[in-house]
Subunit: 330 residues, 2 copies
Amino acid sequence: MKTLLLKKDEVRRLIGMTEVIGAVEEAYRAFNSDQVEQPDYIGIELPSPRGEIDFKLGYYKANEVISMKASSGGFIDNPTAHGVPNGMATIFLFDARSGALVCVMDGSLILGLRTGASGAVSVKALARKDARKVTSVETGNQARMQIRAINEIMQIEEIHAWDNNRDTLFKYKTDIESEYGIPVIVANSKKEAVEQADILITTTRGKGSLVEADWVKTGTHIVAIGTDQRGKQELDPEIFRNAKIVVDSIAQCAEKGETWHPLNKNIIAKDDIHGEIGEVLLGRKPGRESDDEITIFDSTGMAIQDNTTASKIYQNAIANNVGTFFQFFE
Amino acid sequence: MKTLLLKKDEVRRLIGMTEVIGAVEEAYRAFNSDQVEQPDYIGIELPSPRGEIDFKLGYYKANEVISMKASSGGFIDNPTAHGVPNGMATIFLFDARSGALVCVMDGSLILGLRTGASGAVSVKALARKDARKVTSVETGNQARMQIRAINEIMQIEEIHAWDNNRDTLFKYKTDIESEYGIPVIVANSKKEAVEQADILITTTRGKGSLVEADWVKTGTHIVAIGTDQRGKQELDPEIFRNAKIVVDSIAQCAEKGETWHPLNKNIIAKDDIHGEIGEVLLGRKPGRESDDEITIFDSTGMAIQDNTTASKIYQNAIANNVGTFFQFFE
C-alpha cells in the first residue's frame, strides 16, 4: 500500500480557487443526489487554554473516496508554548474500493478555501445577475477568502466594508485594493455598509451585534458564513421572515446554523426553508426568481466539501507527480 | 510540525508482547481512573464484497495522547482485486497538549497484539494460580496470539484444541508446538476440549455452536474474545448464571459483548456483573476469591488499548531513532 503525503506548500500549489469552487459545487450536488454519507462528527474538548479536536468523516460514493478530517482549534498558547499554530488540520483519504489509506495531506488551507468557495457557489445560484456591490461585515481571513472566490465568478465593482476593529478594516482595504484592484469603501457604520449591499457577506465570530432587518434592501443576497454552532448569531432573525432561505444542509442549519434563530423564535417554520443549495444547483428547486427577493445562504460546512476538495488536490498531485509516497507496508 | 511515520515492519520490531501486556493493563487501569475519553466510534459500511471502515477515537489524559484508529475489514476481494489485505489499519497519534499530529503508524499488528494481551491480563487477575491447562476453542490467528500472551505470564503445561476446520487445527498444533514447545492435544470434540480447561479461550467468529454450560468445570477461567458485536455468540448464556463476570467495559459488553446474551435472557441482571477489569486491577474489587469459582472475562476491545499500545511503540521509536519524520508544514 502506497500513501501519498502532501505538505501545506504543495497543497497550496496544487489547487486554485476556480477548482475549489467546482469541487464545492460538486459536493453540494452530490449531497442531494444520494451520493454522500456523513456520520456525526466526533471530537475531544480539552480544558482551557487548549481548544478542541474534531474528526469529520465523509464518503462520496461517485468517486469512491472516504475522507477523514482531523482539525484542531482554539489552542491559544500553541504559538508560544509549542511553536505551532493554534489550529491545525490534516485530511486522510481512503480508497473506498479497498479501504486503503491513499493520501495524508495538510488540511490547514482547505477549510478557508472551501468555505470561501461556498459563498461564491451561492452567489452564482442566488444573487441578482446585475449585482456589483459586495459588503463585508467583518474583514478577517474568511472575508478575504469570500472576495477571492466571488471575484472568480463575477465582476465586483466596489466593496463596502465594516469591522469593529479599525486596524483590521484598513488592512483589509489595503490588501484587497492591491490584490484585486477593487475599491474598498470603509463604512462609518455597519448600517451604512449593509445598505449598500447587492451581496452581503457576514463572517463574524457571531457574538457581536447583529445585522438588522431594516438595513437590508430588497434584492440583496446574504451569504451567512459565521454561524456554525449553537450560540453564534450574525443576523436579526426578522430578516428571515420574508426571505428565500437556502442552506447547505437543512439538518445542520436547523440545528446549529443561522437558521436556528428564526426557527427558535417561530419567525419561520422548517417548511419555510426554500431548500438545500444542492437542490437549486440540480434544478430541482428554483434559485432567485425576482430582482426584489432577499435571498439568504446559510452555510454550516459539510465533510463532503472537504472530501471533494481534497480529492481534487490528490488527483492533481498524482497527475503532476507532486508529493512523497510512503509505503506503510509491503 | 514533524510527524513520525512508522511502517508495519518497524512496528513489529518496536514492541514485544510483554510491553503490550503492560500497555493493556495500563489502559484498563486508566479507564477506571477517569483518565480516558472514548467517544462512540463512527464508520462507513460498504456494499458486499466490501466490508466496513471504522474510526475509533481515544484520549488518555495521563499521557496527553489522542489516538484515532482507522481500520477496515471484510473487503474479501482485496487480495485479488487490489493487492492489499482484506483488512487494514492505521493509527494516528495527536499530542493533546497542542493538537499536533505526531505519529502515523501502520496499525495492522496492534489489534491482534492488544487483544492477545487482554486475555493474559485477565488470566493474571482471574485464573487460578495453579492453572496449567489451556483450551483453545477455534485455532485461528487470535487463538495463537492468546497463547503467545498467556505464555509470557504463566507456565502452560498443555493445550487442548478444537476447531471445526481440521486443517487449521493441525496447523495450529504444529506451529504452537514448534514455537513454544507446549504440547497441543487435538480434541475429538469441543466438549472434550472444554472439559480439560483450567483456562478456556474462545476466539470463534461467534456464529457457530456454543460452549455448553455443563462442559465447564468449576474453577475454570474463561476468556471470551470473539463477541464484539450484536449477533455474535460463543457461550451458552447459562454459564453466566453462577459465574464471576468481569468485563472490559460494562457499557460495551452489556450492549454488544458476550454478556448481552445472558442479560437479554434475564439469566443475569446488570448488577450481577462483578465489575470492570480495571477495577480489579486497581484493587477496588476482588479478583478470583476461591478455586471453585468460574470466572469469565468478556472483552469487546477499547480504543484506549490502541492508544496505550501505540503510544508505547511511538516512545520506543523515538528512543531508538526508528521511523521517518515528515514535516507537513514548516
